[in-house]
């Protein structure tokens, strides 16, 4: 690193890593709640990317988009958790391998 300052490429690298960890988590775990958390992680990786673009181009609009993504994420979590509670109440588990009725 010649430049002492942090370039944007570092942020790209960081969000890619976080995003990939999120994807890996979705594949790795069977607990639906953890999967939901991994999805949140992916969303945050994207948010970080957007904020970095916003900062490096000196434009507020990227931050506004992050704001809307948070809105959607909050709504998604509310509905997702409600679904999970209701699934757990019905079949006593939130293991996604049990939820395989939706096929042919």
């Amino acid at each position: 690193m010649e430049s002492p300052e942090t370039t944007q490429n570092w942020y790209l690298l960081l969000s890619t890593v976080l995003f990939s960890i999120g994807v890996m988590g979705v594949l790795f775990r069977r607990n639906a709640l953890i999967i939901l958390m991994c999805i949140e992680l992916m969303l945050n990786a994207v948010n970080l990317l957007l904020v970095s673009f916003s900062a490096y181009s000196g434009n507020t609009e990227g931050q506004v988009f992050v704001f809307f993504i948070m809105v959607v994420a909050a709504a998604e979590v509310a509905v997702g958790l409600a679904l999970m509670v209701s699934i757990y109440r019905n079949i006593g588990s939130i293991d996604i391998n049990v939820l395989n009725k939706l096929k042919w």
Binding site: S3, P4, E5, T6, T7, Q8, N9, W10, Y11, L12, L13, T16, V17, L18, S20, I21, V23, M24, G25, L27, F28, R29, R30, N31, L33, I34, M37, C38, L41, N44, N47, L48, V51, S52, S54, A55, Y56, S57, G58, N59, E61, Q63, V64, V66, F67, F68, V72, A74, A75, V77, A78, L81, A82, L83, M84, S86, Y88, R89, I94, D95
Partner: protein
């Protein structure tokens, strides 16, 4: 130099906590490490001149969403690691495909030949005033519509989580 040091520390913290989310046995630990991860991301936001967003991020994610998650974990009594683990094959597949995805993403970023941008000077783009101006002028309609989304999400959550009569 100091800002770069902070960046490295925050990055390391967020990556490690993210890995903890995925690999910890107990869901409670996952939730807690995710909160740590979110705090470190909030730190990044501050570094990137997004002060208002950093605060909102902490309030919404750490304050609301993660509490909700924690609450659900306890409600469903998932604390003990009852989760049956996947076979080793699927685990390896998961790690390999996650790594593959990361590699291809990085490769594609490299292939795009992004220019090297200058570090942001300290500016006021992330202040409440500026974000608010944007939000209530150019993005007024999406802003209003998002409230409709919230109402519907709220109703959906209530309806779904309600105990059925019989």
């Amino acid at each position: 130099m100091s800002s770069q040091l902070i960046f490295y520390i925050l990055s390391a913290l967020s990556i490690v906590s993210a890995l903890f989310v995925v690999f910890s046995r107990s869901p409670i630990y996952s939730v807690l490490s995710l909160i740590v991860c979110f705090f470190s991301i909030a730190g990044h936001y501050v570094m990137l001149n997004a002060q208002f967003l950093a605060i909102v991020h902490i309030i919404v994610y750490a304050g609301a969403i993660m509490v909700l998650m924690l609450f659900t974990v306890m409600l469903l009594n998932l604390n003990k690691s009852t989760e049956p683990h996947k076979t080793n094959l699927t685990k390896i597949m998961a790690i390999v495909s996650g790594g593959l995805l990361m590699l291809t993403l990085l490769a594609s970023i490299k292939a795009e030949k992004l220019g090297v941008y200058k570090a942001p000077e300290v500016s006021d783009i992330g202040y409440v005033q500026n974000v608010g101006m944007k939000l209530f002028t150019d993005f007024l309609l999406p802003f209003e519509i998002s409230s409709v989304l919230f109402v519907s999400a709220m109703i959906a959550a209530v309806v779904l989580a309600k105990k059925e009569r019989n």
